[in-house]
């Protein structure tokens, strides 16, 4: 029987280390010899193999640093300690030739031809520029639109129409998209406000309403459009109070008619899901689109104006109170129930947390008034039920305050799954009437936020109407994936 040192594991350990030593870089070869010399002291085969494995790891590290040192050499030189090929005087790593440098540079340049590489670079650049649409992005969009027109691809045209800031081109493409695919008429709802200072064709809203007459959002958008000039006129005189705005707008029968229709409509659809599906479609068809383009489109959607909803709810409540005072309790109850029903509809069908919170607040207002109404008409059980509902609908963070509207994250309200978020929880908080803040804790979803201008959603403090004037600074796409909306108001 042979000695343990002649067993297979020992021989394997020895031979692997001896082989490594033949190629071991000169500068650390002594250490390789030192490690190999210890093998004779090891008695257990498994330990010998482990020892040899450690030696091979050391060899790979030494070889890697040797190769890195070679890469750093100036062209035309060679390492003085380069190991030789076994049995020859030829070094393993040749001279650093100029050709090698040229090939590496060429390979690096060729990487730029890969769309993924360009997207990677543009992602970094876009993050520096706050995801602003660049001139390169505009060229990309123009090409995208040209190709979509050629292919008669209405959805891509609609996407470009929504992203483009040029109003004329955006409107033209939106019209083309709707002609190609009438199911895209909802695009008018989103495109309508971009930019707010450019007059958009009002017939869009008519068409939108005709295509989706049961949707309260279409009426709300028309009402927004009616209220816009009055609101802007008030803004020109300084920040208008809510009562001032209400007194003007509720005197307009067209506005009242559309708000009434909106509150009676059987459906509430803010087109968020459709918008998200459109973005998903285009992004999956063009996966290397610039993150700025996707990012811009992700946040740019409009929800109905909060100030209109609140003004109309207050208007209806006053009418109910008047009806009760005139001895028509049934009419008063019916009016309040209508507000409650609309609030519930908005809460149930809302695709954003902000809409959900607005709906909740409308229901709470209605429940509070109904409770008072039932108490006044001697219906104690109904009054108690409504009072309970009012308190259920008004969590601690949702009660109005006059603290200047600083959103408070600690008071966040989480709600059911948002249909657009693909399972990602969206949270929103309404710290007070003075401000909204919404955030996402996961990626790849869009939350709709109001535009800083025009008749979108306004934060309404008790004593006045404060427009959300601070533009949303969205730098979140493709980087942090954490926060959607910067605070505004």
């Amino acid at each position: 029987m042979g000695s343990p040192q002649q067993a297979m594991p020992f021989r394997l350990a020895h031979s692997s280390l001896q082989l490594a030593l033949r190629f071991w870089p000169e500068e650390t070869r002594d250490w390789g010899h030192a490690l190999a010399a210890e093998l004779d002291e090891i008695e257990k085969p498994l330990v010998a193999l482990q020892w040899a494995f450690g030696g091979l790891m050391l060899f790979s590290r030494a070889s890697a640093s040797h190769f890195l040192a070679w890469l750093k050499l100036p062209a035309g030189s060679r390492l003085s300690t380069a190991p030789l090929l076994p049995g020859t005087s030829v070094p393993i790593l040749p001279k650093r030739s100029r050709l090698f440098t040229a090939v590496i540079l060429l390979a690096a340049a060729l990487l730029l031809f890969l769309p993924q590489s360009r997207q990677a670079i543009s992602t970094v650049v876009a993050s520096w520029n706050g995801y602003e649409i660049s001139s390169g992005d505009r060229r990309t969009l123009a090409n995208l639109a040209a190709q979509a027109e050629k292919d008669k691809d209405g959805r891509t045209l609609a996407f470009v129409a929504l992203v483009l800031r040029d109003p004329e081109q955006g409107m033209r493409l939106a019209d083309k998209a709707v002609v190609l695919d009438p199911q895209l008429t909802w695009v008018y709802a989103s495109r309508f406000y971009r930019p707010a200072d450019v007059q958009q064709p009002t017939e869009w809203l008519v068409r939108l309403h005709a295509s989706d007459p049961d949707n309260s959002v279409t009426d709300l958008l028309i009402a927004d459009n009616i209220a816009q000039p009055r609101y802007m006129a008030l803004m020109a005189l300084g920040t208008p109070g809510l009562q001032q705005f209400e007194s003007q707008i509720t005197g307009d029968p067209r506005w009242v008619a559309h708000m009434e229709a909106a509150f009676r409509a059987p459906r509430y659809d803010g087109y968020v899901t459709k918008h998200w599906e459109l973005i998903s479609y285009v992004w999956s068809s063009h996966p290397t689109l610039s993150p700025s383009i996707i990012g811009y489109e992700l946040w740019a959607h409009r929800i109905p104006n909060l100030s209109n909803l609140m003004s109309f709810a207050n208007f209806k409540i006053r009418r109910a109170q008047q009806a009760l005072a005139e001895g028509h309790p049934e009419e008063a109850e019916q009016i309040l129930r209508q507000i409650d029903a609309f609030g519930n509809l908005m809460t149930d069908r809302a695709q954003t947390d902000i809409e959900c919170l607005i709906g909740l607040d409308l229901s709470r207002k209605a429940a509070r008034e109904l409770g008072a109404h039932y108490a006044a008409t001697g219906q104690e059980a109904a009054a108690s039920f409504r009072a309970r509902r009012a308190s259920e609908n008004a969590p601690a963070d949702f009660s109005p305050s006059v603290d200047g509207g600083v959103p408070d994250d600690s008071k966040s309200v989480s709600r059911k799954r948002s249909p657009l978020s693909g399972g990602h929880r969206i949270t929103a908080s309404l710290g007070s009437y003075g401000g909204f803040q919404s955030s996402r804790d996961r990626a790849s979803a869009s939350l709709l936020v109001p535009s800083p201008t025009g008749l979108a959603t306004y934060a309404v403090p008790r004593g006045g109407l404060l427009p959300c004037v601070a533009p949303l600074r969205l730098r979140w796409v493709c980087t942090e994936f954490s926060s959607l909306c910067a605070p505004f108001c």
Partner: protein
């Protein structure tokens, strides 16, 4: 660029082993057995200690026939001083405990 040595637990174990008998010459395998540090980790640490000038090395002189000479290690004067400070500091931070206290 200077050599940096991160005072990992393995490094501290090795320093402790070398300090246990400071004037004695140690073999790599003996250090590995004493500290349970595998060869792939032990030798890079020894190499760095050597480059920093804290380790003395020499090859075995009297070698039985048929066996290669072994490499021997011990801390230099500066190395011992530095090693003591490092061990003391690591103990204070409760980052590392001497082998005896672990038993």
């Amino acid at each position: 660029m200077g050599i940096r040595l991160r005072s990992s637990r393995q490094t501290l174990d090795i320093l402790e082993a070398l300090l246990a008998r400071p004037s004695h010459w140690h073999h790599g395998y003996a250090i590995s057995r004493q500290t349970s540090v595998p060869s792939g980790t032990l030798y890079p640490i020894l190499m760095r200690l050597d480059k920093l000038g804290w380790l003395e090395t020499k090859w075995e002189e009297s070698v039985p026939q048929g066996r290669p000479p072994r490499h021997l290690y011990r801390l230099t004067g500066n190395g011992r001083e530095w090693a003591r400070q490092e061990l003391c500091y690591a103990q204070q931070r409760e980052f590392w405990k001497p082998a005896a206290s672990q038993v």
